[in-house]
Symmetry: C2
Subunit: 240 residues, 2 copies
DNA sequence: GGTGATTGAATTGCATGCATCATGTAGCCG
DNA sequence: CGGCTACATGATGCATGCAATTCAATCACC
């Protein structure tokens, strides 16, 4: 193993005089999601503080938030390391996402108003353009934006955080799990299906198609990235 | 005038020489769940530190965890206050719990082994005894224990934290929303139904009965529950 | 030359100092 | 007598000091 983790990539120092902790958290999160900090990278408090040009206090809290979010894990004696999202983790994540996105779609179908529908419509139009252009990065961005808008339309605040976290974890896993470009039109079509159900305020259908959408994503991942045959079994017990 | 912030209830000082932050967190959580710290109580860092006999660092982090868990909310300029779980919040919580407990039951039905079934069986036996004795406190405790065991049997680690959090939030809401004692045998019977489905490894039925169980709880709360009405008068300190 | 002990660097967790800022009160002035 | 202001209190956020501990690499010794 190479101690590649010792050198953190250059991060522009935090500038805003206010909310150093928040800024540090956002910078750190961004670095992780963009994979400038790869899975397994160690996040020591002094190192992060140095890189960000802040003292240890905000660095420490930023790291704590990152860990609480599931983007890093605390190793007992080593501090925090950027989470390694394995195929088994993705299975767990998609099991959860299935029911949560389904719930979001159901609630949104019951509650969404005209402006909410218009917003989703606009997103899908831009998404379609991106897919037609074969713009993978933009596709992923708009795909996530759609799901984000969907859960916001659900009107259940407690639904936001778990889904945000899962989505972030999926993003840092995208490293190993290749994005199949062929799946882009399929995802778009399924989003259209969800939107259609929302427009009809058909809660049952919205939940069903949303769940089917996630199930398909899980399967496409399970088939491309091979899962160790154990599944998401209990690897480790213990409370947090 | 008396500084009301010092009115935090007596908490035995943290004793263990290790993990002051963890101990502080647990003590604080316990105090909140037992309603020794009522909803709306302010959790200022110095006050908590004083009460627990620790310095501000562990107190600060403990409060941060409590807030991240949804047991307290950060008010921009006032610090953290113990969360006020309204009837509307409970609605949100049960919307989420419905799908999460359903997922837990489904996964558990697929994966649970003999010892897991035996553990749940033992819990239900004790639960039955408590219900027959009319022991409400023990009923609630075992009710929660059953759900906790169920989600552990699901074998999805990412499912644990959201459900733990929701359950904790429900507990601090139990202040205002009283559980109808008549519901005890009903809850027990539904848990038996879930267990039966698990024993048959009938995932579909397990999910269905678990969801039905939560839906019923939500309805029983919605019918007995009061209006959220924010009219809770903040007790103003005595003028003289 | 191989193995083991020692020193060293770095990290964590905790404690504490300090400036800024909001809050609430008391007193003063119109 | 009421409204406004200045002050005292206390909280937050950030910076930094300090001891204990861990991990590693070097160096001495067999």
């Amino acid at each position: 193993m190479q101690p590649d983790s010792s050198r953190l990539p250059e991060m522009p120092p935090v500038v805003l005089g206010e909310a150093l902790t928040e800024q540090s958290y956002l910078r750190l999160r961004e670095a992780i999601l963009q994979r400038r900090l790869p899975a397994g990278a160690r996040l020591s408090v002094p190192a992060v503080a140095r890189r960000l040009g802040v003292s240890r206090s905000p660095a420490r809290e930023a790291i704590a938030r990152i860990a609480a979010e599931g983007l890093a894990t605390f190793v007992p004696r080593k501090g925090a390391v950027v989470a390694r999202i394995t195929a088994a983790d993705l299975l767990e994540i998609y099991e959860l996402r299935e029911v949560l996105e389904g719930l979001a779609a159901r609630l949104a179908a019951e509650r969404i108003a005209a402006d909410g529908l218009a917003g989703l419509r606009a997103l899908l139009d831009r998404h379609r353009a991106a897919v037609e252009d074969g713009d993978v990065a933009r596709h992923m961005e708009l795909d996530q934006a759609f799901h984000r808008a969907l859960r916001h339309a659900a009107g259940n605040r407690r639904l936001l955080e778990p889904l945000d976290r899962l989505q972030a974890q999926v993003r840092i896993a995208m490293d190993t799990t290749h994005r199949s470009p062929g799946g882009m039109p399929q995802a778009l079509a399924e989003h259209e299906e969800i939107l259609a159900a929302l427009r009809d305020h058909d809660a049952v259908r919205a939940e069903a198609v949303a769940r089917a959408h996630i199930i398909r994503l899980r399967q496409s991942i399970a088939s491309s990235g091979d899962v160790p045959a154990g599944g998401a079994g209990s690897s480790r017990g213990g409370a947090r």
